[in-house]
């Protein structure tokens, strides 16, 4: 594995930070994920947008049952360490001394409060790379803002461009978090490459707000060029027809169809068995089809209603028309393309059993990644890290447990 021998100390929780380090774990880095004995990764509770389960249910090990936690922490080692205690910070500093990278996503003041800012870490280990992933940024009037996926997405401009004339809506995949993670992974890869070229470590800051805005770069440019704020369109590019989501056989079943060019219109009419439409001069041009959008949507729906959504997709695609069946999360697991290309891998984990997780999304031909090990249990690798990596004696480890600096069962009030 390309990153074998690379050690990353990971203080992050939730989605963005853990995704950034998981990409390195997938390519062989040893990622040591640290949680507090009483300060669990908040994704162990499931989504921030759903009421949390009762984490104190010790028998059910509720903290091990989060799909979300399992989804972004595979291939990592699980360690607990009370960073608010001097003993915990001492262990952390010893880990920093033998690691390559530290990643954190606390609010900007936390690492400083612990005396563990980049300056200090570089004293301990001059080659260290330290990456921070604040919600907004470490400076500026909003530096202290609390951000979750939806609020970071909103302040970065995506919902204002999404939804209906009278109401914006949010992305359900919560793009802000994974984008923070992917920007973080890219930034960290750049920093490791820089270290390869120069031998230098450095500090990285990924303001999740700033990393998201380039996704609407087109709108920012267009506004400056035309003076108009781009309108929201629930059906996509309104210059074209048919273009949108059309109903299929079954309940809440849909297919997306996009016809932009005159050539595609000819193919669409052929594939849907409506050659008479070709003869209609009003529909020959994109502008004509736009003006008759209502009529085109009606006749398109008439055809799609008679078809299964995947059949509709295949008929149109084989004719050269852009179309795709709308999958929900369950459909995805049995989608012909996703199945054939092994889009998901199954991992077996204690407490929760076998479940599908997305494969390594970058396919490298010579140094492939591997989604091999499931997410660690709470404190699962405490002994390995304390004894094997740091060389602590039995009595030292015992004392840390007695002091509550490390634990294998969450210390919840």
């Amino acid at each position: 594995m390309i990153f074998e021998g690379l050690r990353i100390v990971d203080l992050t929780m939730g989605w963005a930070g853990p995704l950034s380090t998981m990409l390195f774990a997938d390519f062989g880095a040893q990622v040591i994920k640290i949680e507090g004995p009483g300060r669990l990764d908040w994704w162990r509770r499931g989504s921030a947008s759903k009421p949390p389960p009762d984490m104190r249910d010790v028998d059910a090990k509720v903290w091990e049952r989060s799909a979300l936690f399992c989804g972004v922490n595979r291939n990592k080692l699980g360690v607990t360490l009370d960073m608010s205690s001097p003993q915990g910070r001492e262990i952390f500093e010893r880990l920093v001394a033998v690691s390559d990278v530290v990643v954190e996503s606390f609010s900007p003041r936390v690492m400083k409060k612990w005396g563990l800012d980049h300056e200090r870490l570089a004293e301990i280990n001059p080659g260290i790379i330290m990456m921070s992933l604040p919600a907004v940024g470490s400076s500026g009037p909003w530096a202290h803002y609390i951000g979750y996926a939806s609020t970071t997405e909103a302040m970065s401009g995506l919902p204002a461009l999404c939804g209906y004339d009278d109401a914006p809506i949010l992305q359900t995949p919560f793009v802000a978090d994974p984008l923070g993670g992917l920007n973080g992974a890219t930034a960290l890869a750049f920093a490791l490459y820089h270290r390869e070229l120069t031998g230098e470590g450095q500090r990285i800051e990924v303001g999740q707000h700033e990393g998201l805005i380039p996704l609407i770069g087109h709108g920012l440019m267009e506004y400056q060029l035309t003076g108009e704020i781009p309108a929201r369109s629930s059906t996509g590019d309104s210059r074209f027809a048919p273009n949108g989501c059309y109903p299929c056989q079954g309940d809440d079943r849909w297919v997306v169809i996009s016809v932009a060019t005159d050539d595609e219109w000819i193919k669409f009419c052929g594939a849907t068995g409506r050659p008479e439409l070709l003869a209609d001069p009003a529909l020959r041009t994109a502008q004509g089809r736009q003006e008759n959008r209502g009529r085109i949507d009606d006749l398109t729906s008439e055809w799609t209603r008679q078809h299964d959504r995947r059949d509709a997709m295949e008929i149109l695609q084989r004719a050269g028309v852009v179309a795709a069946a709308v999958n929900n999360a369950a459909d995805l697991l049995e989608d012909p393309q996703v199945t054939a290309t092994e889009g998901f891998v199954e991992l077996d984990r204690a407490v929760v059993g076998r479940h599908p997780y997305p494969r390594v999304s970058v396919r490298l031909s010579e140094t492939p990644g591997n989604a091999a090990e499931p997410a660690p249990l709470f404190g699962e690798d405490n002994d390995f890290v304390l004894r094997e990596i740091l060389g602590l004696r039995d009595d030292e480890v015992r004392e840390l447990r007695e002091l509550g600096v490390v634990a294998e069962t969450p210390m919840l009030n």
Binding site: G46, A48, S49, P51, P52, G71, G137, S139, G140, P141, Y145, Y148, A149, S150, T151, E153, L161, C162, Q171, P173, L182, N183, A185, T186, A189, Y193, H194, T198, R203, G207, E210, I216, G217, H218, L220, M221, E222, Y223, T226, N243, C245, V256, Q317, V321, V322, A324, N327, N328, A329, A330, D331, L333, Q337, V338, A340, H355, P358, V362, S365, E366
Partner: protein, 379 residues
């Protein structure tokens, strides 16, 4: 210094995934040479345009993605052009491609026999394998196929279009990450490799939230319009615009109700997260009534001062006027000979020892044609 300084990148990619990947390399010092067809990249035709007049030098999308790159034109029906393309590809460090090489009959193995360290970034829509490998993809199709939109929109209406090209930006980040790993490997081993990313894989990876949760027995998410989960995770209108809130735990909800002058909305039928979810319609009506008299900036400031996650739903105009981004000196002004001077989005991340800078304006179509003739890289 710039981390990718002097890196020779040949960008044959025609759409957003490859071009944003190329931008990440260019803004970190890479020498990115674009190869366009005689009519220009399709991104040059993406409007809207000023005065509704299409102009290949005034596309917002193209200007955003291609600032600081060079441009030359290849006619794929002309043998001499194809030979020049092959030579450029064989002398590059990285080729970022989304189909032109195969169409031109240039295969990676033959390039690599001349240049063993060459990294090929190969981007696709549905993937380069499997039954849909030849299917045509745009952003809307990937949103559909990846599960992205099934739960977006109003309950009684079709799933909605989420916005332009997001899966391709996500694919671009995976590609830039993979490219850097490949460069790291090439430096150690002298061997390049193929970096394959599909927009479908990329989109699935961000929607894992729903799929893996479903496997764990969590009910499938339904469409709830502007609400993600009740009112406490939703978008809501104020007097002068919209806010986003993620205010789930009781202490945060109490503070939010205080800020909007409605402490009663944290009691009785709205006292717990479960009750607030069950009575979401009634709660939303009461919250909206209160917010209708308040200004976005006031609600956001007051909530954030109490550590409550509320943010403005920013428009493009709000962003360009953001005091936060100004304080961070984030935007970069770039003067373009045809489109004029525009503010471009700033760095997506900041490395202390690796400079980020947009090297210059987007190229006019074919302005660097000489580079092709002389096989000219800047290094």
């Amino acid at each position: 210094m710039s981390v990718m300084a002097g890196l020779r990148v040949l960008e044959t990619a025609s759409w957003v995934a490859g071009q944003y990947c190329g931008k990440l390399l260019a803004d970190h010092g890479g020498d990115v040479l674009k190869v366009e067809p005689p009519e220009g990249d399709p991104t040059r035709r993406a409007g809207p345009f000023p005065g509704e007049t299409p102009d290949p030098e005034r596309s917002g999308l193209f200007l955003h993605l291609n600032a600081g790159k060079r441009s030359c034109v290849i006619d794929s029906t002309c043998d001499a052009d194809l030979e020049a393309l092959r030579k450029m590809a064989a002398s590059a460090d990285v080729v970022v491609d989304d189909g032109l090489l195969a169409a031109a009959g240039i295969d990676y193995e033959s390039l690599r026999s001349q240049n063993p360290a060459l990294v090929l970034v190969s981007l696709s829509g549905f993937g380069d394998d499997g039954p849909y490998r030849d299917f045509r993809a745009n952003d809307f199709a990937i949103y559909a196929a990846s599960g992205w939109i099934a739960a977006m929109g109003r309950p009684d209406e079709p799933p909605v279009y989420p916005g332009r090209d997001y899966p391709f930006y996500i694919a671009a980040l995976y590609a830039a990450f993979g490219t850097t790993i490949a460069l790291y490997h090439a430096r150690r081993s002298g061997r390049g490799q193929r970096v394959g990313v599909s927009a479908l894989d990329a989109a699935i990876s961000v929607d894992f939230y729903e799929t893996t949760s479903h496997s764990f027995g969590v009910p499938l998410r339904q469409r709830h319009g502007s609400r993600i989960s009740g009112v406490s995770s939703s978008l809501q209108p104020c007097r002068d615009g919209w806010i986003a809130l993620t205010v789930n735990v009781n202490s945060a909800w109490d503070a939010f109700c205080d800020v909007i002058g409605a402490p009663e909305l944290a009691t009785g039928p709205f006292a717990t997260p479960q009750l607030r979810l069950a009575n979401a319609d009634a709660l939303e009506a009461r919250v909206r009534e209160k917010l209708s008299t308040l200004a976005v900036a006031d609600v956001v400031e007051a909530c954030q001062a109490r550590h409550v996650a509320v943010a403005p739903v920013a428009t493009v105009a709000d962003l360009l006027d953001s005091r936060q981004l100004r304080a961070r000196d984030w935007w970069q002004r770039v003067a373009h000979p045809v489109a004029g001077t525009l503010q471009h989005p700033g760095p997506p991340f900041r490395l202390q020892k690796a400079q980020w800078r947009i090297p210059g304006p987007a190229p006019l179509l074919g302005q660097d044609q000489d580079s092709l003739v002389t096989n000219g890289w800047s290094r």
